[in-house]
Subunit: 349 residues, 2 copies
Amino acid sequence: MKVTINDVAAMAGVSIKTVSRVINNEPSVRPATRKKVMDAVAALNYQPNLAARNLAGTRSYTIAFIYDNPNAYYVIDMQNGILEACKARGYELLIHPSNSKSASVHDELKNLVEHSKVAGLVLTPPFSETAAVIETVKSLNVDYVRIVSAAAAHEDEENCIQVDDSAAAYDITQHLLQLGHKRIGFLCGGEEHVSTHGRLDGYRRALQDAGLPIEDNLILKGEYSFDSGVEGAKALLQSDNPPSAIFASNDEMAAGALFAARLMHIEIPQQLSIVGFEDSPFSRQTWPKLTTAHQPNNEIAKCAAALVLSKARSKGATENGKASKEAGIQREFTPSLVVRDSSGPAPKQ
Amino acid sequence: MKVTINDVAAMAGVSIKTVSRVINNEPSVRPATRKKVMDAVAALNYQPNLAARNLAGTRSYTIAFIYDNPNAYYVIDMQNGILEACKARGYELLIHPSNSKSASVHDELKNLVEHSKVAGLVLTPPFSETAAVIETVKSLNVDYVRIVSAAAAHEDEENCIQVDDSAAAYDITQHLLQLGHKRIGFLCGGEEHVSTHGRLDGYRRALQDAGLPIEDNLILKGEYSFDSGVEGAKALLQSDNPPSAIFASNDEMAAGALFAARLMHIEIPQQLSIVGFEDSPFSRQTWPKLTTAHQPNNEIAKCAAALVLSKARSKGATENGKASKEAGIQREFTPSLVVRDSSGPAPKQ
DNA sequence: CCGACTAATGACAGCGCTGTCATATCGAAC
DNA sequence: GTTCGATATGACAGCGCTGTCATTAGTCGG
């Protein structure tokens, strides 16, 4: 019924150890032998038993995906990307929702790594960016890849996939500037997200490069939530001298800002431009549709997973093998501007 | 370092087989012995190795979650619920995104069950409701639980967690009726979803019970998507005799309807009431906030997972044991009406 | 207090694979 | 045609657990 390594060995006329060598891409197998085995594998549609591999070997064929983000679209995109990478390489995925604010992250991660024998960890923000988590994974002797906002890589670039929030925010701000906006409100995301700071930085740089002043009262603290967007926009719009455009740090906040503008009977984009960040599905489901920055989460996750897996697989291999395997994996992403209907020319004075 | 069954056995002064009996809740262990073992387990913080269990035993400690739904919030809610149930019982979860329309579902599922040795399957709509899938899982000699719209249980209630879309839709429609609406447009979801039919049925029954005619031209086919909601609402509102309320089959469509109304400068809910279904997060992020039916997805999924696990675990056990274990798991859910701001009294003629 | 029976416990093999180490095979140099 | 030094291959144990079956301890009636 179920085909095992023994069946393959019998068919190919070799020992099971040779089959093992072939499927693990180990050296010291003659090309002719390798071919015989591969043919048998194909003929029988053999797939190694993960449980047995995990049990027998020193290495593990399981990686874990740890997330701590309320945005379902974000998580699913990431998860699907990781899943693809795992499937392509015959690995298993352990899903682990967590909470970076919890005091027990250390124990939690430690337990996960030591007990579940995972080969690697893929971490997403904000989990991937909190000090306690970084410290823990570094100390844990486990391969990991942190998906982070560029500034959060610190001196750990080799274990990071970086998203350049600052550059993307610069582009978005410049887009507004080109539309003639001189005073642009900025709604910050949560402090704990490094992306919040990156996006603000991009906004600031764009204004500076355009020779425009940075008005602190146009920059409001907030969180990456709809409600926060509503409040921030209200505050901005009810001030004495409201801006002609609002840059919300993510689409959810932008949707909130849209909501607030509507409550105040402000026409978008005629009287006010609003832009978001992330290009999540519902940036296309607002009215009007949001101008935003597209972040290829699926692709980012796929690269992150590919990276952990290459790290994990090269553990016992030669050093040069390691270098060559990690090559070709994109490590930096810059979300790209997507212009839709929520941004328009600045109104005449 | 890692604590195994041997360590526990040594500490408790029994054989490993006895430890195995205790952790698997098998009979024929004297209470005193059981306690000794349990104490040792607790003292050493022993957790059985899943890979070894999967490899050694005839049964598996892995269940799979199969989904085929573009709604990320839905999937994540379900997934988290299943994860909780798995964790509580020491099972592992295999995530398997799929496509019910693909011709290879049969092979895909077969391969999943036979190769990955999963103990059970949790299926969500629309995957859980397609004929090919149902046929396959029935033929596969694997425990499964289908989360379905009530009408889709057919003669398979024992393997279903049912959501009573019809009853919930009845409640929603009645809510509109009580607000004085006489003519209510209905935007259908995709044909392949059984929930589409259930929701329509509830709508029809409510009208009938109120002695109101069912106007076929107020019922529009569509899909569970934003764009479909836009189109449907437009068609309804541009007709000669538009309704005073629109019942969109889910929140995403309702958001689309809101969008369309906005385009046509129709005030919600003053001129038109719009209601959704599902209570997904963004039903609170539209303007105005949506009146909808709350569906406890997390809870539903938890019950579904608990049900497969109880089925799987009782496999070798006595028949009466089986019955008792499945007791206490809720098998039917009716989404409950949540009134927000998108529904209001019917406008005067 | 003894045999007959049942309940409790343990010894051992083996799940499918990998790691270690021994053996066999090959090629090149003499 | 040998010998040596790789390189290629195989035998075997064992990962941590469960299933089977043998063994031991306990219970009851007479």
